[in-house]
Structures are given as C-alpha cells and as structure tokens.
C-alpha cells in the first residue's frame, strides 16, 4: 500500500477540503438551527481548554484537577475590564491579553508551591486550588463588590472590531452573518493558532523537556533540564490558554457567574483530555468534540424519546450526560487506558507492564 501521507498533492487537497468544510460549517448548521452554531462555539471553547490542559497533563504529566480556575480568572478579568460592573469598556484585543496574563500569573502561583508534589497529591492540591478560586468568586462581593457574588456579572461587552459588533447580525458582501457565526470564525482562528502552538511546541526543546519530566523527573534533571522552570512554564502556558478561552466565553455568553466554574467542569476538561488520549493533540480535540457534542445530541434525542415512550420525562438529559461521563471515564480506563487516539509514547508506555 502506498503511503498517501507522503504525497503532497493528496495532503494539500485534504487540507483544502478540511478548510472548506470548516468555513462552510456554520452555514450548514444554521439550516438546522441557530442553536447549533452556539453549540459548536462552545465545543470550540472546550477544545481550547482541552488543548491548554493537554500541555499540563499530556505533555508535562502534571495532573491538574483545578484547571477551570484559570478559565474563571480569564472570564472574570474580561467581564470586569469590559463590562458595566466597573464601567470599564476596554476593547477585547487589550482585555484578552490582560486576562491571559493574569491567568498565567495564577498558573505560576499554583505551580510554585506545588513543584515538589507529584501524581495524586498534585491532583488534590490543584483541586483544592480550583475550589478556593470558586469560593472567592462567590464571596468577593463584600465588603467591596468585586465579583458580584453568586449573582454573577451580566451585560458583558461583546467583541467589537472596527465597526463590527459580534453580538448582532451583520451583512458582508451580501451574506448575512448572525452573531454566533462571527464568533465561530473568530474561535476558529484562535483554535488554529493554539493548535499550531501546540504542535510546534510538542517537538521543540521545551516540549521534549516536558516529556522527559513526565517520564522521569530525576533523570530529566540529571540531563540538565531545569525542571522548576519547565514545570512552571507548563502551568503558565496551560493557564494562558485557559485565560484566553475564559475571556472569549465571557464575551460570547455576556453573563458569567461562579456556577460556570465548578469542579465538574474541571473534571469534564480532564475527561476530554483523557478520553481523547493524553499528549496527542488530535486525540484531545476528538475528546473535546465528543464530550461536547454527544450530550447535546442526547439532549435533542433523549427527551423526545422519553416523551414518546413514557409520555413524560423520566430522566433529565443532564443526568444521563453525567452518567455517560462517569461511565466513559471508568470504561476507558479499563479498556483503553491510553485514550481513543493515544500518543505514540503513551501507547508504548501503557502496553509495557510496569516494572
């Protein structure tokens, strides 16, 4: 069999086809329903999060169960700097980098004290960190109202670029784009950028250093890798991705509250990374897509099915979603511990018995 990957013509044709599909996708989705464009947008947001967490968990091997905290930091940074709460309305291209930077600082704040910890201890501390951030968001409404507590922040500015407002419809060269479609293209650009960063970093000096740390930290240090810097860099980079995703979430949603940043969300992103295959960028994207679309599809099928069968809704789709979630985590660990698309290294690692 001839290896089609070696033929440039086919490869470029493939790329072109994918690009075309991605470009035309929102127009097709709008035919089904405008809600699906929004769902797709949230799926892309999850891809951004999963890609960010993949740096921490997949590349550097540091299990972070409080990842959603960085998402929260990015989201709140955006909401406070571009919203009515403080009366600040900075443009998004200033706020997003600020949010990402604040998230990165939080990443280092989390990383620095936990450098010595590994494996499940690290998991628990990061989990605690995530909870602490959420509790603060919930309570920082007194004595000075910063986060507005459990009510959350509303009427957050949408993205504005030039004269184009991303929240409403606008026509461009005779084609009408609704707000979520514009966000789709923006998210697509950001996603592609993050994918490129991820791919490029994986085989760079830094990426190889992370891999070395993941495999054997002592050996990595012996080879001259500054493990402290590298681990902090992993936390900071992962957090930056989370911060960017959080800022975009704020703008798309227009409203945020601590409810959106609970532990389950962290677990969900971890599940995406694990399900797809830790360390494999395409696997992680697949995991994020599966875990964000399957529940939506369930929502649209389970409810009518139950109404048809029993005449009323017996089990909420949300519960089914969570049950499938939990079951998927257990079954994947039992039968495909390296995920659906395992990275080459993990595959090798997991098929060989632990010495």
């Amino acid at each position: 069999m001839k290896d089609w990957r070696k033929q440039p013509a086919i490869v470029w044709a493939g790329f072109g086809l994918i690009a075309l599909v991605l470009l035309l996708l929102p127009f097709a989705l709008v035919q089904v329903g405008a809600a699906w464009v929004r769902i797709t947008n949230f799926a892309i947001l999850y891809i951004l999060l999963a890609l960010g967490l993949n740096i921490v968990v997949g590349f550097a091997g540091l299990l972070d169960l409080g990842y959603i905290a960085f998402y929260a930091v990015g989201a709140y940074a955006y909401a406070l700097l571009a919203g009515p709460h403080f009366g600040l309305h900075l443009p998004f291209w200033i706020v997003l980098p600020i949010g990402a930077a604040i998230a990165a600082i939080f990443g280092i704040l989390l990383g620095a004290p936990t450098l010595k910890l590994r494996g499940d201890y690290l998991a628990i501390v990061t989990l605690g960190f995530g909870e602490i951030v959420r509790i603060f968001l919930n309570n920082l409404s007194r004595p000075v109202n910063i986060t507005n507590g459990p009510q959350g922040l509303a009427r957050i500015d949408p993205f504005r670029l030039g004269g184009i407002d991303f929240s409403g419809p606008s026509s461009l060269a005779g084609v009408t784009l609704i707000g979520s479609m514009k966000y789709y293209y923006l998210l697509l650009v950001v996603m592609l950028a993050l994918i490129v960063i991820n791919v490029r970093i994986q085989n760079s000096r830094i990426g190889r250093a992370w891999e070395a740390i993941r495999e054997d930290e002592v050996a990595a240090r012996a080879m001259g890798i500054n493990t402290t810097h590298m681990k902090l860099l992993a936390f900071a980079m992962g957090a930056t991705f989370g911060g960017v995703a959080g800022g975009m979430f704020s703008a798309i949603q227009g409203f945020i509250s601590p409810e959106s940043f609970v532990l389950v969300e962290s677990v969900m992103v971890v599940s995406m990374v694990v399900l797809g295959g830790m360390g494999n960028i395409w696997g992680v994207i697949l995991g994020a897509l599966l875990l964000s679309f399957v529940p939506e599809i369930l929502r649209w099928t389970v409810e009518p099915a139950q109404h048809a069968l029993f005449g009323r809704m017996l089990i909420e789709p949300e519960v089914i979603r969570m049950l499938i979630f939990g079951l998927a985590l257990v079954l994947i660990m039992l039968f495909r511990p390296a995920g659906l698309l395992p990275s080459a290294v993990r595959k090798r690692e997991l098929t060989q018995p632990v010495p």
Binding site: G61, L63, P113, T114, K116, L117, R118, G119, D120, Y121, A123, I124, V125, L127, G128, F129, E131, I132, I135, F136, N138, N139, R142, P143, E217, V218, L263, V264, V267, V270, S271, V274, I315, V319, M322, L323, F325, G326, L327, A328, L329, V330, M333, L334, P337, E349, L350, P353, V354
Partner: protein, 328 residues
C-alpha cells in the same frame, strides 16, 4: 472566651466525623495507594439510605435512638455493598495500571454514584424528622447538645474498634502486611484480594455511620453532600499523614477545630476597622457601619484546602506519616 469554647466543641464534633471519613481514605490509600475519590459519595449514600429509613419509621412512635440505629442498620450494608462493588468492578482490574488510571476511574465512579443517587432520591433535600428532643448542657460557658456528645462518643468508639481490628486481629495483621508489601504478603499466604476487598468494605461501613451522623447533625442530606465532605476528610487524612490510621484520627479532629475556630474568628481578624486610624476613608466607613470585614465566616470551606496545601507543601508526609517515597 465563650465563643472559643463553643467553636472548639463544634469543631470537635465535626472533626470526629471528618476523622471517621478520613479513615476510609487512609486505609485504602495505605494498602493500594489509591485516592478513592468516591468515598465521599459512599458517605452520602449512607446518609440518604438512613434518612429514607428514618423518615419511614418516624411516625411509628419508636424511641428516637432506636429509629436512628435502624437507619444506620439499613445504611451500613448498602454502603458495604457499594464499597465492595466499586473495588471489584472498577479498581481491581486496574491494580497494575499506571497510577493515573485508577485516580481517573475513581472520579468516574464518584460521578456515577452521585448521579445514581440523584435518580433515586431526586435533587430535593431530605430533612431529618423532628423526633429528637434536643437537650442542651452548659459546659465551660458553651452549649453542647446530646447529639454532639453522641456523635463524638460514637466516633471514639468506632476508632477504638478499628484500632483493635487493625492491631489485634488476624485480618488486621494481614491488612498491615499487605500495606507494607503486597507481593511478600501474598507469598506468606495472605489472600490479598480478600484483604483489599475487606478494607473497602470496612471503610464503607465507617463512611455509612459518618454519613448518618453528619446528616443528623446538620438535619439535612442531599445527593451533593458527599463531594465537599469527602474532600475535607481527604484533607484531614493528608494532614495526619495519609496511610496512617492514628494520623487520620488526629488530622480529622484538628481540621474540624481549625475550621470551626477559623470560621469563628476570621471575621474579627480581618475587620479593617481595627486599623481605622490609618485612613480617613476607612474611618468614615467604620463610623457608618461599625465593621469592615474582609473575609467573613462564609470562607469556612477555604480553610480545609488552605490547610491541605500548606501541609503538602511544608510537610508532605503529614503530621504522623513516615516519609513517603517518590510516587508518581
């Protein structure tokens, strides 16, 4: 001073419960180095089962103690079964897998149990029926209820029972041997699978009783109660030195006290009106309000995590734990 003693008693009550839950974590960790995330859910299931039974029996006019004991009697076997099932189905096949795998499985099990409980008992809060006439005693200027005394007494009893089991019986010897070195213990004729299953079952039984106690103390039970309780108990286990049975007891009590005292005093400690001379803006605000509290008692849940992080950073082996090796 009154507040201090009062919070101390409240903290000890809660701490005793944390200690019992922490035992479930620490025993499992000591033997197979697994953080059984789902243990908190076992506690929750214990509380829910017991509350269902208690609510059914409440109108029967039995003495309250009997009702609560029957509730516990229903909860314990159910939780034992859950504990056994989860060990057998989810964790045993992964015993030789890399360390991340069972941890993620545990998260999955926890999600499954929580939502199964939601299916069974719905999202509503189960309330404890008003069958216990609360008696209060005044000790050192603080009020203590007989429920609190019963909780602490029962916890002490269970801890003593567990200590006797672990240090005085054949099964306990087998457990300690397995914790030290499973392979060698196996060679010495210990049935490791049985011992591990027993560890889960005992931990689950303790968790069931703890669930009933915490439910009785707060008067409510809900399907979400397990996760935060489990996390705090885990923090307690780490504080005492994970894998160490006396450590879990000390850690639990200490965490309960820290939490109660912290919640009692943090408002006063972070009241910026003590510094009102420093800025005119502050003194004006303080004149109007009297208090300018940065962090109030609603930050109570933060303490457990802060303690957890501090312990792991400063003394990763916990208060009573031995130096743990390089585990990843």
């Amino acid at each position: 001073m009154d507040i201090f003693v009062q919070q101390l008693f409240n903290g000890l009550t809660l701490g005793a419960v944390y200690a019992v839950v922490a035992l479930g974590y620490t025993m499992v960790y000591g033997i197979i180095q697994l953080i059984n995330f789902a243990h908190g859910e076992v506690v929750m299931i214990g509380a829910m089962v017991a509350f269902t039974a208690i609510n059914m029996l409440a109108p029967a006019g039995l003495p309250p103690v009997v009702v609560v004991l029957i509730g516990m009697g229903c909860a314990i076997p159910v939780c034992m079964l859950v504990g056994y099932a989860m060990e057998r189905l989810a964790y045993r096949p992964l015993r030789r897998a890399p360390r991340l795998a069972p941890l993620i499985t545990a998260i999955g099990v926890s999600i499954i149990l929580q939502h199964l409980a939601m299916l069974v008992w719905s999202r509503n809060v189960l309330a404890f029926p008003q069958i216990i006439p609360i008696q209060t005693y005044t000790v050192l200027g603080a009020t203590v209820t007989q429920v609190q005394l019963a909780i602490v007494g029962l916890c002490v009893l269970m801890m003593a029972g567990l200590a006797a089991l672990v240090y005085r019986t054949r099964l306990g010897t087998a457990m300690r041997a397995t914790a030290q070195n499973p392979q060698v213990a196996g060679l010495m004729g210990v049935d490791i699978n049985r011992v591990i299953a027993f560890t889960f079952i005992i931990g689950a039984a303790l968790g069931a009783v703890a669930g009933v106690m915490v439910g009785t103390y707060y008067g409510v039970a809900q399907y979400t109660m397990g996760s935060i309780l489990g996390l705090k108990a885990f923090a307690a286990a780490v504080l005492g030195g994970i894998g160490n049975i006396p450590g879990a007891m000390v850690g639990g009590l200490l965490l309960g006290v820290v939490e109660a005292l912290g919640a009692g005093y943090i408002g006063e400690l972070t009241d910026l009106c003590h510094l009102s001379g420093l800025s005119t803006w502050l003194s004006e605000r303080c004149q109007a309000d009297g208090h300018f509290i940065l962090f109030g008692s609603n930050y109570q849940d933060v303490f457990a995590f802060v303690v957890l992080i501090l312990v792991l950073v400063i003394r990763p082996s916990g208060l009573l734990g031995e130096r743990v090796g390089d585990r990843s």
